[in-house]
């Protein structure tokens, strides 16, 4: 049997700065709003662990990744909105992971010390942690809660939204989204809309970021 001739095709071109500019200019109002909501959400979720992350920083990083080649954008294959949503998701995932497992090892010199009065002196890691003032942050520091306690609180928030409460309860049981949709006879849009109501309720209750859990 003859082997099929291998046809060499030119690789899809990767976009440069001018093409990225054109794509930005072509974003619709709805697409731009979607990007803002995605970046806001990522920044909000990162705020628990990474100091002073704001959506602008995420946008900057996303564009840098596209332009420096860490994320190749092939306009013929991927639309710009889809690309940026994917990059924002990667950034959030990576930064969450890095915050969890710092790249730099913890040195002895990084460990807590105390002054002559015996009061603890914050080490480099503590200094880098999110220590912004504010009553909510103080509450978080004073009352670190367990994950289960946090989830209990969340279930209470959703108690006046039957669908959201049900979805959250199923998540806690380990049920995945598609199974929940099937069981509750929901389409993707109805499911996502309910989840976004949860998201807004969380942000409304903890505008500075969710409490850290131990």
């Amino acid at each position: 049997m003859k082997e099929k001739a291998q046809v060499k095709t030119a690789p899809d071109p990767v976009a440069g700065a001018d093409e990225v500019r054109q794509a930005i200019a072509a974003l619709t109002e709805a697409e731009s709003v979607k990007l803002q909501i995605a970046a806001d959400g990522a920044a909000y979720r990162l705020r628990r662990r990474v100091f002073s992350v704001d959506p602008k920083e995420i946008f900057n990083e996303a564009i840098a990744r596209v332009l420096d080649g860490r994320r190749h954008w092939q306009p013929r294959k991927v639309d710009f909105l889809g690309l940026l949503i994917g990059v924002i998701k990667s950034i959030e995932f990576e930064w969450r992971k890095q915050a969890k497992r710092p790249e730099n090892p913890v040195l002895e010199t990084d460990l807590s010390d105390s002054n002559s009065d015996g009061d603890p002196i914050p080490n480099r890691i503590q200094q880098a942690a999110d220590l912004r003032p504010g009553p909510e942050r103080e509450l978080i520091q004073n009352e670190q809660i367990t994950q289960e306690q946090l989830f209990e609180q969340l279930e209470e928030f959703f108690s006046d939204d039957a669908l959201a409460a049900l979805i959250f309860s199923e998540w806690r049981r380990g049920t995945k989204g598609p199974e929940i949709m099937k069981a509750l006879d929901l389409d993707r849009q109805q499911f996502d809309t309910a989840v976004r109501r949860m998201d807004r309720a969380i942000k409304k209750h903890w505008p500075e970021g969710m409490p850290d859990v131990c």
Binding site: I24, Q36, D68, Q149, V195
Partner: protein, 150 residues
Amino acid sequence: MSADTNRSKMDLETLFDNLAEAVEHAPPEDLLAEAKVAGQDTERIAANVKNTLLDAVRNFEQRKLHAARHAYRERSTELSRKRFALPDSAVERRKMLIDAAATDQRVARVTAKFRDLRELSDEDVRSALEDLMDLGAFDQSAELYDDGNK
């Protein structure tokens, strides 16, 4: 479900992923409608997003430019360390530039904007030579003029 008696099978990271997915999968028009219902100024939001993204492109380019400038300065510093002096006399300097333009295409391209090198002011000749030296355009030819000028 009681948390004390029946621990969640979901962790916080999974909750975050679930929340993010609800935006990722959403049609932009749905999110736009929700934002409008919430009373947000979506036109302003959209304009800000575009400006932020365009600024990010500009920032990236500027960082690249700064990096290139930095590399150039490093190279210039390195060159200046081993730099030869330009000829002392204005006549010699002009001759150096004219000779280099005649024999080195790179120099000729740079000096092509000047109609006649003989009409350049002495200061312009010196400046052009310094720029070309910094760029390494005619290191070898410059060395020819280095004799006796240090």
